[in-house]
C-alpha cells in the first residue's frame, strides 16, 4: 500500500513540475529571446536598486557550462581556474553577447530577479539548458555614491561558489549545500565611488541551484544605497 502511494505521489510531483516548467518555458519569446521565467525578467530600466534587505537583483548570467559534478571544495577551486573562454574574469558582457565554450555557443542574458535570490535552475530550464553538473558565470556592476570602506560581500549559493569584487577573489563556499543568506561573508573591503564589478561562478552538482548576494556595512547592516547596471561600464 505504501509503495503504491509513493508511486502515486511521485507521479503527481512530476506532473506538477512538468506543468510549472512548461509555464516557465511558455513565457519565453518565440525566437528563443530573453523573456524571463516567472522569478526572472529582462531589465526594464537602465538601473536597479537593491531590495530593502540589500540583495543585488540584476545580473548578466551566462548559460551553463557543463563540467560534471565538481562541487567538492578542491574540485570547485580547480574548476574556476579553468579558462572556458577568453577574459572570463574581466569581461563585462552585454545582453545577448555570445561566447564559445568547447563546441557550444553560450549566450549572456541580462536578468532581474523578483526575489532575494537568482534561481539558476529556472534560468537554465527556461532556456532548455541542463543545470546539473554545471558552472554558471554571473556578473553585475554595483554603482556607489561614495567610497565605502570596511564593507563585506555576503553571499549564499547552491552549491559551491567563488566571488570576485573588482577582480579580487573575496569569498568562496564549497560543497553540496543549499543557499543560506549571508552564508559566506568576505573580509572587509572597499567599494569605490562609481562602478564596482561583482562576479561569481556558481557550481551545481544536481537538483536546485541558485545564489544570493548583498553588501553589508561596518555594522553588518545591508547596504541599499547602491544602484546596479549591466553592460554599460567602460572597458
Amino acid at each position: 500500500m505504501n509503495k503504491s502511494r509513493n508511486i502515486l505521489m511521485s507521479a503527481l510531483a512530476l506532473l506538477v513540475a512538468s506543468l510549472w516548467c512548461q509555464e516557465a518555458v511558455a513565457q519565453r519569446g518565440a525566437g528563443g529571446g530573453t523573456t524571463a521565467p516567472a522569478t526572472l525578467h529582462a531589465p526594464d530600466s537602465p538601473q536597479k536598486v537593491p531590495d530593502v534587505e540589500g540583495f543585488l537583483p540584476r545580473w548578466l548570467i551566462l548559460e551553463p557550462i557543463n563540467i560534471g559534478n565538481q562541487q567538492t571544495e578542491n574540485a570547485s577551486k580547480a574548476a574556476v581556474k579553468v579558462e572556458y573562454f577568453p577574459n572570463q574574469l574581466t569581461v563585462m558582457p552585454h545582453d545577448g553577447d555570445k561566447v564559445t565554450v568547447g563546441s557550444q555557443e553560450l549566450t549572456w542574458h541580462a536578468e532581474d530577479t523578483i526575489n532575494y535570490n537568482v534561481n539558476l535552475y529556472i534560468f537554465a530550464n527556461s532556456l532548455k539548458k541542463n543545470p546539473a553538473g554545471a558552472l554558471f558565470w554571473a556578473v553585475t556592476v554595483v554603482n556607489c555614491p561614495q567610497d565605502m570602506p570596511n564593507v563585506r560581500l555576503a553571499i549564499g549559493s547552491n552549491a559551491s561558489s567563488v566571488w570576485w569584487v573588482n577582480g579580487q577573489e573575496v569569498v568562496g563556499i564549497y560543497g553540496d549545500r543549499q543557499t543560506v543568506v549571508d552564508d559566506g561573508v568576505s573580509k572587509r573591503l572597499t567599494l569605490k565611488k562609481g562602478p564596482n564589478v561583482v562576479r561569481c561562478a556558481v557550481i551545481n552538482g544536481s537538483g536546485a541551484t541558485d545564489f544570493c548576494a548583498r553588501f553589508l556595512d561596518a555594522d553588518d547592516k545591508p547596504i541599499t544605497s547602491l544602484t546596479l547596471s549591466v553592460g554599460d561600464i567602460a572597458h
Binding site: Y174, D182, V185, K187
Partner: protein
C-alpha cells in the same frame, strides 16, 4: 603554578576574607584579614602589596567618586583617593566608627562589612554581621562614606550568615552571604548563598520562598574540584556588561597544601538567579557559534571520518531478501549478496580521524579560518592550552588554540580577521582571552586587540571575523563542546 586543569590564580595569592577585588588605575587590589594586601597588574598574576593604614578582619573596599572607602570589621572606615601606594595621592584618612553594637547588650557581631552602591538611585549601603545575631543593613553617605542617619537603627535582613554583600541586577536586589564553618582547612563547610528582594531593605527570599532572616538562601557556589570552602563574595566592577566576575576565597586549596587562597570566577545569570561560572579548562573542543550553529575550522576540504564511502554501501550492496521477510529489513543482504547495505555501517567501530594522515593535503603555510557544519573531522577539533608566563586577565591565563595533533595556531591578523599559522610563536595575536559570559556561553578575544575589545564574531554561517564586542549580540557567543 598551573597545577590543575581548572586554574587557580598565579603568583602569590594566599589570603583569607578578601575584600572585593577593586580596580584602581589599571591595577587590581584586595585586602584580607590582618590587612594582608595583594595586587595584580592583570587580575591573574598576584603579588604582595602594601598594608593599609588600618588592618582588621575581613575588610571590604568600594570606589565611589574620587575616593576608595575601606570598611573593616568593628565596623570602622578609612579612605584614600587611591589604592596605589606609589601615587602622591595615597593617604589613608580615618573615617571613624560606622556601625557596631547599638547598645551594650546588643546581640550582634559587627564584622564582615560589605559595601553596596545602588546603581538605580546612587544610595550607598553597608551590610555587616555574623552568626551571632542578625545580618544588618545601614545607609551611608556616598560623599563621606559615613552613616547617613547615625541615630536610625539598622535593619535586620538575614541570619546564620557572615561575609555578606549586596548586588543589583535587572530590578532585584540580591543579598549574598557565606554560610557554614570557616577556618578549618579542608573541614570548612563554607558555601555562598543568595536571596533576593525588590527592595534594598528586603525581605530577601531564596528560590523556594524562605526569607534569609529565617535561614533561607539559594546556593551560589560550594566546594568542588580541588577547592574547599568558598566564602566572601565580592562583585568586581569592571564595566563589562557581557561578562561579570566575582572574587572570593577558598578555605583550602588542596593543590597548595590546603592554604586559603584568592579566586576570581565568572558570574552567570540563570532564570533571574546568580550562579557561579567556570574559568576555561584545558582540553580539546568543538568551538561552535551560538548564532549559526556552525563550528570554527581550517578552510580545507574535509574528509569523512573513516574515509569516503563506496557507492552502494560498504563492500557493495547485497541484494534484497525475498518477500518472506516479516519486516522491511529482513530481506537485506539477501541470497548471493555478500556486501553490506547502505545503512548497515562497516560492522566495526570507526576510529577517530588521524590528523597526521588527512593533514598531508593541507597547505603548508597560513590557512584561513572559517565555519562549517561540525562533522567530527580533524580540521574542526581545537585544543585549548594555557600559556605560562604570558599573563592573563581576571581569573585566567591566556590560552593558545591549536588544531589537535598539530602546531597550527589560531591567530588574529593585523586587519582584524582570523587565520591559522603553521606554528605557535607566543605572539599576542595568538594569545586568547576566554571569558564565560553571563549566560554561560564564551567570548573569545585576542590579547593583541585588547584595547579595542575585539572578539571573534560569526558574521555569516561560514565566516568569522574580529569585531568590537557587543554584549547585546549573539554573534560573539560561543560554545566549547566536547569534540
Amino acid at each position: 603554578m598551573l597545577a590543575s586543569a581548572a586554574f587557580a590564580l598565579d603568583g602569590q595569592f594566599g589570603i583569607h576574607d578578601p575584600s572585593t577585588v577593586t580596580l584602581c588605575d589599571g591595577k587590581y587590589y584586595t585586602y584580607g584579614t590582618g590587612g594582608n594586601p595583594l595586587v595584580s597588574d592583570d587580575g591573574w598574576t598576584w603579588r604582595r602589596g602594601v598594608t593599609p593604614a588600618r588592618t582588621g578582619a575581613a575588610p571590604d573596599v568600594i570606589h565611589i567618586g574620587d575616593r576608595f572607602f575601606m570598611y573593616i570589621s568593628g565596623v570602622t572606615m578609612i579612605s584614600s583617593k587611591t589604592l596605589d601606594p606609589d601615587s602622591h595621592d595615597y593617604k589613608w584618612e580615618d573615617g571613624g566608627s560606622i556601625a557596631g553594637r547599638e547598645s551594650p547588650d546588643d546581640f550582634i557581631n559587627p564584622i564582615d562589612p560589605g559595601a553596596f552602591l545602588d546603581p538605580t538611585d546612587g544610595r550607598f549601603w553597608l551590610t555587616y554581621g555574623s552568626y551571632v545575631g542578625y545580618i544588618r543593613l545601614v545607609e551611608l553617605d556616598p560623599k563621606t562614606g559615613k552613616r547617613l542617619h547615625p541615630n536610625e537603627p539598622p535593619k535586620n535582613i538575614g541570619i546564620n550568615l557572615e561575609a555578606t554583600d549586596m548586588i543589583y541586577h535587572d530590578g532585584w536586589y540580591y543579598l549574598l552571604g557565606t554560610r557554614g564553618s570557616c577556618c578549618a582547612g579542608a573541614a570548612s563547610g563554607y558555601n555562598i548563598r543568595v536571596g533576593r528582594s525588590r527592595k534594598v531593605s528586603g525581605p530577601f527570599l531564596d528560590n523556594v520562598g524562605v526569607d534569609m532572616i529565617e535561614g533561607g538562601g539559594k546556593l551560589l557556589i560550594g566546594s568542588g574540584d580541588r577547592l574547599i570552602g568558598p566564602g566572601h563574595f565580592g562583585l568586581l566592577n569592571l564595566g563589562d556588561t557581557g561578562a561579570q566576575k566575582f572574587s572570593l576565597h577558598w578555605e583550602a586549596d588542596l593543590d597548595r597544601g590546603g592554604a586559603s587562597v584568592l579566586d576570581i570566577r565568572p558570574l552567570l545569570w540563570i532564570d533571574g538567579w546568580p550562579m557561579a561560572g567556570e574559568n576555561m579548562k584545558e582540553g580539546t573542543y568543538e568551538i561552535e557559534s551560538v548564532r549559526t550553529g556552525t563550528a570554527l575550522e581550517l578552510a580545507v576540504e574535509g574528509v569523512p571520518v573513516g574515509g569516503a564511502r563506496a557507492r552502494g554501501g560498504f563492500g557493495g550492496r547485497g541484494g534484497r531478501g525475498g518477500a518472506g521477510g516479516t519486516n522491511g529489513f529482513a530481506g537485506r543482504g539477501g541470497p548471493g549478496g555478500g556486501g553490506r547495505g547502505l545503512f548497515d555501517g562497516t560492522g566495526a567501530p570507526i576510529p577517530p580521524q588521524d590528523v597526521a594522515r588527512v593533514s598531508t593535503n593541507w597547505p603548508a603555510g597560513n590557512i584561513d579560518v572559517r565555519m562549517a557544519n561540525y562533522m567530527v573531522q580533524a580540521q574542526q577539533k581545537w585544543i585549548v592550552t594555557a600559556v605560562t608566563n604570558a599573563g592573563g586577565y581576571p581569573g585566567s591565563p591566556y590560552f593558545k588554540i591549536t588544531i589537535a595533533g598539530t602546531d597550527r595556531a589560531l591567530t588574529a591578523t593585523a586587519d582584524g580577521e582570523l587565520t591559522a599559522l603553521p606554528a605557535f610563536t607566543g605572539a599576542p595575536e595568538q594569545l586568547w582571552r576566554l571569558d564565560q559570559l553571563t549566560d554561560g556561553t564564551w567570548r573569545i578575544m585576542p590579547k593583541s586587540n585588547s584595547k579595542e575589545a575585539l572578539a571573534i564574531s560569526a558574521i555569516g554561517s561560514s565566516s568569522a571575523t574580529l569585531e568590537k564586542f557587543n554584549p547585546d549580540s549573539d554573534r560573539q557567543r560561543w560554545l566549547f563542546k566536547k569534540p
